[in-house]
């Protein structure tokens, strides 16, 4: 039980960090909306995760891998040139792109693979959009000698070829999913099916803070190291909390990881940036909170892009990692209670920010976090020079150079 009714019985009773409740809910969001076949597996996972949390040896083992294999802590970088160019608030980058495999994804994957090993699972299935989560999963499977199947939408296989090749090199089987638009949503389905068909030996390694309970909570916990480090690093660099934290959102794991440790620090504005695609009202968007409404998909209740009959709509974004019609349930809740704000950034704005970042800081960001940067570029100039923004640079952009070149009309 993570929620208690008496304020005396828990130090977190008045905290925004105590969710989800024992039904896996954040307010009305979350839950466990899966077929009965999968329910016993969710209970088994829940039990294994609670046991791991309570075991100091698990924490020790995870810390070891996070430090020596992932390369944590990741630096907090003062982006001085970008700050000068924008002429307002000081902009810091949380350098998650410097992690092994090039994104924040490995934080969660490392945690879950240790849980899977404790459960005695021998085969891992995972979904991937941009391929970052797929690469991270294939990586730990190589490290621990586990069989690995990655489901990836056929469209994404096409636009993220370097990551597909990486997964192959790492020994993973990549299964292209032609159904639907061939993006993350379709990959998520196939991964759930792959799990359902081989329940006894298979572990479903979810890559974001979505899906049935306990995934949103567990993935958030493993990603929270991002925010925990930012808090310490910011105290050291500036002696105070940041004013604004900005992160891009597809499913929302990098954002939840950096937001969560700050939820009870009311002075810190938390801004999640959704992919507006060709514009929030273009009909070609991935902005689930801005343009969706609550519904049930992939095991949880959350904001979804859907028509008036409850049929799920296809998302659109230049960034394969954000191209998803839903969002993690805790974000939906944070939106509804007003603790976090959710805004949209278009494909074009992200492309522009991608280039600015590369030019001013010598950092090629993933297109996902270029969305976050585009919003930073909008608000920093309106803020005072002694104010501080932290952007979660959740991944590096090497995988995106082909997409960017294509949109800039350059032939590689």
């Amino acid at each position: 039980m993570t929620n208690t009714s008496s304020p005396l019985s828990s130090p977190l009773a008045n905290s925004l960090r105590s969710g989800p409740d024992d039904r896996g809910r954040f307010g009305i969001f979350g839950g466990r909306f899966v077929a009965e076949t999968l329910m016993p597996l969710l209970f088994e996972l829940d039990e294994a995760y609670r046991a791991a949390q309570a075991d100091p040896e698990f924490r020790k083992e995870l810390d070891y891998y996070l430090k020596d294999y992932v390369g944590r802590p990741s630096p907090l970088w003062f982006a001085q040139h970008l700050t000068e160019e924008l002429g307002g608030a000081k902009v810091y980058f949380k350098r998650e792109e410097l992690n092994h495999t090039g994104s924040h994804k490995l934080n969660n994957v490392m945690g879950q693979i240790l849980v899977a090993r404790r459960m005695g699972k021998t085969r891992i299935v995972a979904e991937t959009g941009a391929g970052q989560h797929g690469v991270a999963t294939a990586t730990v499977c190589a490290l621990f000698g586990l069989k690995c199947t990655i489901y990836m939408g056929a469209t994404d296989v096409e636009r993220q070829k370097p990551n597909v090749f990486r997964m192959h090199l790492l020994g993973a089987e990549v299964k292209p999913v032609p159904a639907g638009a061939g993006t993350l949503k379709d990959a998520m389905h196939e991964a759930m099916r792959g799990w359902g068909a081989n329940v006894s030996d298979t572990y479903f390694l979810v890559g974001t803070v979505a899906g049935p309970h306990p995934y949103p909570e567990m993935v958030r916990d493993f990603q929270s190291i991002i925010g925990v480090e930012v808090k310490e690093q910011m105290a050291e660099a500036e002696g105070r909390l940041p004013d604004v934290i900005v992160a891009a959102i597809g499913g929302g794991s990098n954002a939840m990881g950096i937001f969560h440790p700050f939820l009870d620090d009311a002075s810190v504005r938390l801004i999640g940036v959704e992919a507006a695609g060709r514009g929030l009202d273009s009909g070609k968007t991935a902005a689930s909170i801005s343009r969706g409404r609550p519904g049930v998909l992939h095991g949880n209740r959350t904001y979804l892009l859907q028509d008036k009959h409850g049929q799920i709509e296809e998302a659109h974004s230049i960034s394969a990692g954000l191209d998803y019609p839903g969002i993690g349930p805790e974000h939906s809740w944070l939106n509804d209670i007003g603790r976090a704000e959710y805004v949209g950034v278009t494909d074009d704005e992200a492309l522009e920010a991608f280039q600015v970042c590369t030019r001013t800081e010598g950092i090629i960001p993933a297109l996902e976090c270029a969305h976050g940067l585009a919003h930073v570029m909008k608000i920093a100039p309106t803020m005072a020079k002694d104010q501080i923004i932290v952007l979660n640079v959740s991944g590096r952009g090497d995988k995106d150079i082909f997409t960017v070149a294509h949109h800039l009309g350059v032939k590689l």
């Binding site: 077929a35 999968l38 016993p40 359902g196 009959h309």
Partner: protein
């Protein structure tokens, strides 16, 4: 007694199990699926399961997913599916109808309104694939009030203690998902069923329908004898799909499905 209870009681007297064919509403179009629905009882359907098309049927295999997409393309909505049941009830007041689908369209329609409208239209039971017992409070009270059975799914992964938990308030019949995979991809052996059914019957007195992976007359016969009913879905949809031209129904469509249904019915009755 509800239509579902009446039907199972009558079959018990006959000394045989039930055959439950499945069709996806509006696949490939409203008129064809209504024609098929109306003809199914005469071809040997004891109960009928109607799939409600959903864009993202995560527990279904490629055959049913394709059928759902054809249905959506033909304009299927939950409201239209209820209209189809109403039309069926004009000529058949006895064959139980069970809707099978996913939660989001029901959620979108409004749980209370849906249960009321479905019962009014002549629906007897609903199977909501992605609504396990732990989330069923969303519909339970409304369904009870409307007189609809929420058909409970149990799986090979459902433990003995959990069987008692999920079947405690079950009504209508129990749907045993006989394989852990997705629809239409595999099948359970007679030995698997012989082992599973006593486990389920320990926890409930309701009839048990066996589904997922039943395609041949022989399999239907086995399932309907060890259990109380056999559900055949993907196999019928594959036949239907094979008669389509450019996604449209042909004059072979309805007869081909009915012929297959008659073969299944003969095996169940043999």
């Amino acid at each position: 007694m509800s239509r579902i209870q009446t039907r199972f009681a009558a079959l018990k007297k006959e000394g045989r199990g039930a055959l439950i064919p499945y069709l996806q509403a509006c696949d490939p179009d409203y008129d064809t699926s209504l024609e098929l629905l109306r003809a199914m009882p005469a071809a040997g359907a004891d109960l009928i399961e109607i799939g409600v098309p959903f864009s993202d049927p995560s527990a279904d295999g490629p055959t049913i997913q394709a059928a759902a997409l054809r249905g959506l393309k033909a304009g299927a909505t939950l409201g239209l599916v209820l209209g189809m049941v109403r039309a069926f009830r004009e000529t058949d007041s006895e064959t139980p109808i069970v809707l099978m689908g996913y939660l989001n369209p029901i959620d979108s329609y409004g749980p209370a309104e849906f249960c009321f409208d479905a019962a009014q239209a002549g629906v007897d039971g609903i199977i909501v694939v992605d609504m396990p017992t732990e989330e069923a409070d969303l519909l339970d009270a409304h369904a009870r009030e409307a007189g609809l059975d929420i058909i409970t799914l149990v799986a090979p992964t459902t433990s003995n203690s959990r069987l008692f938990h999920v079947l405690r308030d079950a009504s209508g019949f129990v749907y045993y998902v006989s394989i852990t995979g997705i629809t239409g991809t595999n099948s359970a052996s007679a030995a698997d069923l012989e082992k599973a059914l006593p486990r389920i019957r320990e926890a409930t007195d309701l009839p048990v329908a066996v589904g997922f992976g039943i395609s041949t007359p022989e399999q239907a016969r086995t399932a309907s004898r060890i259990g109380d009913a056999a559900v055949v879905a993907s196999a019928l949809i594959k036949t239907m799909a094979s008669t389509l031209e450019n996604g449209q129904a042909t004059e072979r469509t309805v007869p081909a499905v009915l012929k297959q249904l008659e073969g299944l019915a003969a095996a169940v009755r043999a």
